[in-house]
């Protein structure tokens, strides 16, 4: 279980997150809804250690993470698939995926996970030798998710995985996210497509201007008139 307690952070003099408290239960799919600029990406960057926590605490399965660096946090089982993917564009798809296993590079499970990732995204088998940067947007997103999975996480953070993708591809990506969660990996997801993401989620939070304004079960958020008006376009 991941618990953020009263976390604030920001850039330079201004705070972007103001005392955010959320919980992502083990094995569940938790979705964060919010408009552009509400702080979703900052929230994820803070959890994965790319940004420093100013006040508050982050706890993952009993370990305090709010002072840890990104390379230590991924070792503790949280993998972050960032907005914009941040792939190694000139390296082959296979090298990208294999670098994902860097934290546990001597583990015997690496080959097993590699096979699982290729089962989840069979197209990557064909593209294994191509530079990651030469792939289509949807395929690059698969490499990014696959690379994150290669670290054998218990929690996968996905920051707008469907951003900029064609509608049919969005469906495929969200279906694979649901599949990953069914395989027992907890998922923390932010998504523009609120309806589709709530449909596969257990719990949801609504973030507005750096504050959590709503927290509930996903099914009840779907029926919530405020959420419907703001994010579902109903």
């Amino acid at each position: 279980m991941l618990t953020l307690d009263n976390v604030s952070t920001g850039y330079d003099a201004t705070d972007v997150l103001h005392g955010v408290s959320i919980t992502a239960r083990a094995g569940e799919l938790t979705v964060i809804l919010g408009a552009n600029g509400s702080g979703k990406t900052t929230l994820f960057r803070t959890i994965s250690g790319l940004m420093r926590v100013r006040t508050g605490t982050i706890d993952y399965e009993g370990r305090k993470l709010h002072r840890a660096r990104a390379n230590a946090i991924v070792k503790s089982g949280i993998a972050h698939c960032p907005e914009g993917r941040h792939l190694f564009g000139k390296m082959s798809v296979e090298k990208n995926l294999r670098l994902g296993s860097y934290p546990h590079r001597n583990s015997s499970r690496t080959e097993e996970i590699y096979a699982e990732v290729l089962d989840l995204f069979p197209i990557l088998k064909e593209k294994a030798k191509q530079p990651a940067g030469s792939l289509s947007g949807g395929q690059q997103q698969m490499v990014a998710i696959g690379r994150a999975l290669m670290s054998d996480p218990s929690l996968l953070i996905l920051d707008e995985p469907s951003m900029g993708l064609a509608p049919i591809v969005v469906e495929q990506v969200l279906e694979s996210v649901a599949q990953i969660n069914r395989n027992g990996i907890g998922v923390l997801l932010s998504e523009q497509n609120a309806k589709a993401s709530l449909a596969i989620a257990h719990r949801g939070y609504v973030l507005a201007e750096g504050r959590i304004v709503l927290a509930d079960d996903a099914s009840r958020l779907l029926d919530n008139p405020d959420v419907q008006a703001a994010y579902l376009g109903l």
């Binding site: 390379n71 564009g89 000139k90 670098l99 860097y102």
Partner: protein, 288 residues
């Protein structure tokens, strides 16, 4: 024709030296995103420490280069830790000023220990080989062979070994690298150590041909910067190709135009590249 072959080998030997020195600089640029202006002074220290092991202690030539390279690796790691690491979040000008400071420090250190006078490192490898009618000194053959071996080992290290791949990963995407668990500080230290090690091999190889002085790194500094700009900043194949192109151009100009003109070729090339194709000549042609 004999003269041409003679000069071609001279150019290849010089090119090997330039490559080894330039690759370190381009790696450091790729990982730390700074032009390490102290690179030439690491090369100079490498030459003096090789000289120390060879002449003062009496270690065999190749072993002396190896021991100096290890010492410079440690020095490079220390330079990253003590100078560049504390400045990692500062504006770029701070890095450059710090690098110039390190350069002056190393020059003063060499002068304090070995004096300001030129020193000669006697050629431990003597004799000449006859290649297609031209007399090539054995030292130059050794330089070319060693440079090729070291470049091959380096290519293997960066492309195949996991620690080498972390260098490439950081170059291509720093955030992506952090998120897969790579520690950027460790990679920065490794890269600066490696660059000092390669510069030392270059210096140790060429020292028997040139003279040693505390300022011997200055001319090399300018040339390796010309090479990595020619090859495209951060590009390994660019640095290799650029090193050989510049060395051969320099040697041939000195032979066929005027010996005084040889050194200026580097800067004519540099100014021309910056004016016409500032991203480097080989950035499109040789993508990694």
């Amino acid at each position: 024709m004999t003269l041409f072959i003679q000069q071609l080998f001279n150019g290849l030997a010089l090119g090997g030296v330039y490559c080894l020195a330039a690759i370190g600089l381009t790696l450091v640029f790729g990982v730390l995103r700074i032009p390490n202006l102290a690179h030439g002074s690491l090369y100079m220290l490498g030459a003096y420490i090789t000289y120390f092991f060879l002449t003062t202690i009496g270690v065999p030539y190749i072993a002396a280069i190896g021991m100096a390279a290890i010492i410079l690796f440690v020095l490079g790691v220390g330079l990253e830790r003590l100078v560049f690491h504390p400045l990692r979040n500062s504006p770029h000008t701070h890095h450059m000023i710090a690098a110039v400071g390190a350069m002056f420090f190393f020059q003063a250190l060499a002068q304090a220990i070995w004096g300001a006078d030129f020193r000669r490192m006697d050629t431990p490898i003597t004799g000449e080989l006859r290649v297609l009618g031209a007399e090539i000194s054995a030292q130059r053959i050794v330089i070319i062979i060693t440079a090729v071996i070291v470049l091959a080992l380096l290519a293997w290290f960066i492309k195949r070994s996991i620690h080498g791949q972390t260098i490439e990963a950081i170059e291509q995407d720093r955030i992506g690298a952090s998120l897969v668990g790579i520690n950027p500080s460790m990679v920065s230290m490794l890269t600066l150590g490696l660059s000092a090690l390669l510069a030392t091999i270059a210096a140790g190889l060429v020292a028997p041909i040139n003279l040693l002085s505390p300022t011997m790194g200055d001319a090399l500094n300018l040339k390796v910067f010309a090479i990595i700009i020619l090859g495209g900043l951060g590009s390994l194949p660019g640095a290799i190709l650029g090193g050989f192109v510049l060395a051969i151009a320099e040697t041939m100009t000195a032979t066929y135009v005027s010996s005084a003109f040889g050194d200026t070729v580097a800067f004519i090339v540099l100014v021309a590249v910056l004016a016409i194709k500032p991203n480097g000549l080989f950035t499109k042609a040789v993508q990694r």
